[in-house]
Amino acid sequence: MNIIYLLLALSVLVALIFFVAFIFSVKKGQYDDVYTPSVRMLFDDELVKPKSSKSSSTKNKKSN
């Protein structure tokens, strides 16, 4: 039953890792702006496209 020491230590360690990750992310400012990233991630696909086709800019229209 002494395994419980190890298990306890492990569980606390895992909890601590997440806790430190949380503190770190707050410190980095990841929670300062929670709106823009949600919009930005929808752009990504479109960024590549216009680069390749300079001439067909007017045809570039996407239906959305």
Binding site: M1, L8, I23, D33, E46
Partner: protein, 797 residues
């Protein structure tokens, strides 16, 4: 009528077609062309008609050439990279985010750009070799995203964000979860071999987890309680701090002496829930600032004229603070005069609305004094500073002590009123119970004393206010009424006097009613009138042109604009004169009609009549005053003359009182006088001229046509379109207070149940562990549901 492909405005005055798309002006078309060239037309796919028509006057940002000023704006400047963070008030949709973040496609000097939409800022990293700061600003302006750069940017560089509450909440939540899980085995007190063996380890682990909760997360409560006690106020944090301390000390002694498991679970839970409440109450509108002073309105730099050795005039950009008395300064059309000065050259048409609230443009001749805060409309001016900036009239107005005062410290909140009685009640119960047990069974006395303090810890009471007000704050926000902080709602509920500013507050800034008085104009005269107005750039001409018939526009044989006086034009032998009465008639009868803004017209030297401009009052105003007048005293303070008095008296309830010709100081003094009479005053204003009054009043509300535009320091910003709803906001605030009171009753019931366990000496850790979250959660649920229900009514209107 077609709508502009770029900005969505109706194509009224101009109608341009480019690539089968409609545009309302050249600006919009240019932006489209720029974006089209760089393959950025995806901008228009993301959102329909996302654009902003660009407006920038030439030379506006020339001061960025000055190294010292540019340096102040840059966040980072090292070798090949410079980083700058701009406030771009005009950003409003996902297209804006997209185009700003793809700025690099328009100019390869831009390395990266990142938008913070809630704050409306864009951080741009660029290489100064390819594009300098000034070019970058002009690039942004050219596509309609002109950054807002003011004197404030010069003073404050990096304001640290306070994230301590999130850290505290994180620590408390982390410890709470782990302690719950460690305390679970002992809840049911099963005498089991393995449990007996490990329980000491479990208990000390819980102790270890609770240490940061008490000494870090809970530290704010101790500090606040100590401050309160020193000021001889029993605030709500006193019983909370007492509860936390007693919980911790009793639990530690229990595990030290092996008496029991202690209450670490309740302790960490309590702190966690309390902080959660605090967190919820903190709703910030990051792009709105409630702390503005004149600095946010002032330009960062001005153009100074200097003479070199060979007596040539040189223009030089200098920082506003560096202006000395005697300096010659150049003021362009639309620029703000930052300093008290004497007019040297040019025709000054100064709009002081920003300082005095007076809507009329004031004409000044050279040699006259101009005061800081005026905005030049028209040509270029040359002025000579007579004082340094910190001694001008406007900045002195700002040094009034009102602006340093912390309003909230004086306000006795509901919770503080209750906590006084609550704390004395709890302490007397604790002592009575202890006394009883001292006589009856002294061994239990200490146990009971601490149990009472633990169970009476007003967690639920402390949560009722933040959740009710926090939720109301959000409901108000959804209805375009943005408050600085939750406690303002409590104050709104108590207001008994409402003071309105006139111009810009109850009148609309962008709507004017225009009437014609005089002889009827024939068709030819009308056509000549609109043709000549079309050529004029004066604001009144443009307004008048908007409402006139534009069918018979004809070419003009002769056109002459006399700045500050009027225009004269001639075609087919017909001559028209449009402008001020002195200009049109060579004499003035305006003494009796002094209070009107008017444009006079004569045709072939024969006086015809005049167009009179009147401010149009906001819709629903009469109804609002009627509703408010039932329970509150209403006042109107105006910086203008009393020309509108009759009209207002007719429109508004008889109880409303009017005061005209009120200077900013008078407004402030007026509010102060009301307060000295024991009234709680709400001031509703819009301009900087109301700033003092807004700060002095118990609740200062700034009215704003467009919340992206700056409003003076205040407690709340209300969108102009929602002004008629004001009485609904009052009602909802009052309801909020009622909900808090009911929550108090509910939580007192829980306390009574808990106290029954405590005074009889039967408080088990498990009971405390159940009772505390149960009471907290049910109060939170009640407060949230009740406010949402009350808020629903608001939306119906």
């Amino acid at each position: 009528m077609k709508n502009c492909f770029h900005c969505g405005e109706a194509c009224k005055n101009e109608h341009l077609v480019f690539q089968e798309k409609d545009f309302c002006c050249h600006g919009c078309k240019t932006v489209y062309e720029i974006l089209n060239e760089s393959d950025l037309t995806y901008y228009y796919d993301l959102q329909e008609k996302p654009g902003i028509s660009p407006v920038t006057s030439e030379g506006k940002f020339d001061f960025l050439d000055n190294k010292e000023i540019a340096e102040k704006l840059l966040e980072f400047n090292e070798g090949n990279t410079q980083i700058v963070n701009f406030l771009v008030p005009s950003m409003h949709c996902s297209s804006c985010i997209w185009v700003l973040e793809n700025l690099g496609k328009l100019n390869n000097g831009v390395k990266s750009a990142q938008v913070d939409f809630p704050k409306k800022t864009v951080r741009i990293s660029f290489s100064p070799e390819k594009i300098n700061l000034k070019e970058l600003v002009y690039l942004l302006s050219k596509i309609g995203y002109e950054p807002y750069i003011s004197l404030k940017d010069y003073d404050e560089r990096d304001h640290k964000v306070d994230r301590s509450l999130i850290y505290k909440l994180g620590v408390a939540g982390f410890a709470f979860g782990n302690v719950m899980f460690l305390s679970f085995p002992e809840y049911f007190e099963v005498k089991e071999f393995w449990l007996e063996q490990f329980k000491h380890l479990f208990r000390w682990l819980m102790f270890a987890f609770s240490l940061p909760v008490v000494f870090y997360s809970g530290s704010g409560y101790f500090v606040s309680a100590y401050k309160g006690l020193r000021a001889k106020i029993l605030n709500i944090d006193v019983p909370i701090a007492l509860g936390i301390a007693v919980l911790f000390i009793r639990s530690t002694t229990e595990i030290l002496l092996d008496l029991g498991t202690g209450f670490f679970d309740s302790l960490t839970g309590l702190v966690f829930f309390l902080l959660l409440g605090k967190f919820f109450q903190q709703k910030t509108y990051s792009y709105l600032s409630f702390e503005r002073d004149y600095k946010s309105y002032f330009p960062m730099a001005v153009t100074r004229l200097t003479k070199n050795n060979s007596n040539e005039s040189l223009e030089e950009q200098i920082q506003v603070y560096k202006i000395k008395a005697g300096d010659r300064i150049l003021i362009r059309n639309g620029e703000l005069i930052p300093i008290d000065a004497v007019l040297i050259k040019g025709q000054a048409n100064i709009d002081y609305s920003f300082v005095t609230g007076e809507a009329e443009v004031v004409r000044k001749e050279s040699g006259e004094t101009l005061y800081a805060g005026g905005r030049q409309q028209g040509g270029v001016l040359e002025i000579e500073a007579i004082k340094a900036i910190d001694q001008s009239y406007l900045t002195k107005l700002w040094s009034n002590e009102v602006f340093d005062k912390d309003k909230n410290s004086e306000f006795q909140t509901l919770i503080n009123q209750i906590s006084k009685r609550f704390t004395t009640g709890v302490l007397s119960i604790a002592f009575t119970a202890t006394l009883f047990w001292l006589i009856y069974d002294p061994s239990k006395a200490l146990n009971v004393f601490t149990a009472v303090l633990i169970i009476a810890c007003p967690c639920a009471i402390a949560l009722a206010t933040p959740f009710t007000l926090g939720n109301l704050l959000r409901i108000f926000g959804r209805n375009k009424f943005y408050l600085k902080e939750a406690s303002v709602i409590e104050q709104i509920a108590k207001i008994d006097c409402v003071v309105f500013d006139k111009t810009g507050t109850i009148t609309s800034n962008n709507k004017t009613e225009i009437f014609y008085e005089g002889l009827k104009l024939n068709t030819e005269e009308q056509s000549l009138l609109s043709s000549s107005l079309r050529a004029s750039s004066h604001p009144l001409s443009r307004q008048l042109y908007q409402i006139l018939d534009k069918n018979n526009i004809q070419g003009l044989d002769e056109f002459q604009e006399y700045t500050g006086q009027g225009i004269s034009a001639e075609t087919n032998g017909n001559r028209i004169k449009i402008g001020s009465e002195t200009f049109v008639r060579d004499f003035s009868t305006e003494t009796k009609e002094l209070n009107k803004t008017s444009v006079h017209i004569s045709s072939n030297e024969e006086y015809k009549g005049c167009y009179v401009f009147k401010n149009s009052y906001r819709e629903g105003l009469a109804q609002l005053f009627k509703e408010l007048g039932e329970s509150k005293k209403l006042f109107i303070l105006s910086g203008d003359n009393d020309g509108e008095k009759e009209r207002l008296e007719k429109m508004l309830p008889l109880t409303t009182r009017f005061y005209f010709n009120q200077k900013p100081d008078d407004k402030l003094a007026f509010i102060k006088k009301l307060q000295e009479e024991g009234k709680l005053v709400m001031m509703i204003g819009d301009g900087l001229n109301d700033a003092g009054a807004l700060a002095q009043s118990n609740v200062g509300i700034a009215i704003s046509e467009n919340i992206n535009v700056f409003s003076p320091a205040c407690d709340g910003i209300l969108e102009a379109s929602n002004l008629p709803q004001l009485s609904k906001y009052f009602q909802l605030s009052a309801k909020g207070i009622k909900i808090i009171k009911w929550s108090f009753v509910l939580s007192l019931c829980y306390n009574a149940i808990g106290l029954a366990f405590a005074v009889t000496g039967n408080l088990m850790p498990v009971i405390a562990a159940i009772l505390m979250p149960l009471s907290s959660i049910s109060i939170v649920a009640f407060a949230t549901l009740a406010t949402n229900l009350a808020g629903k009514k608001l939306k119906r209107y």
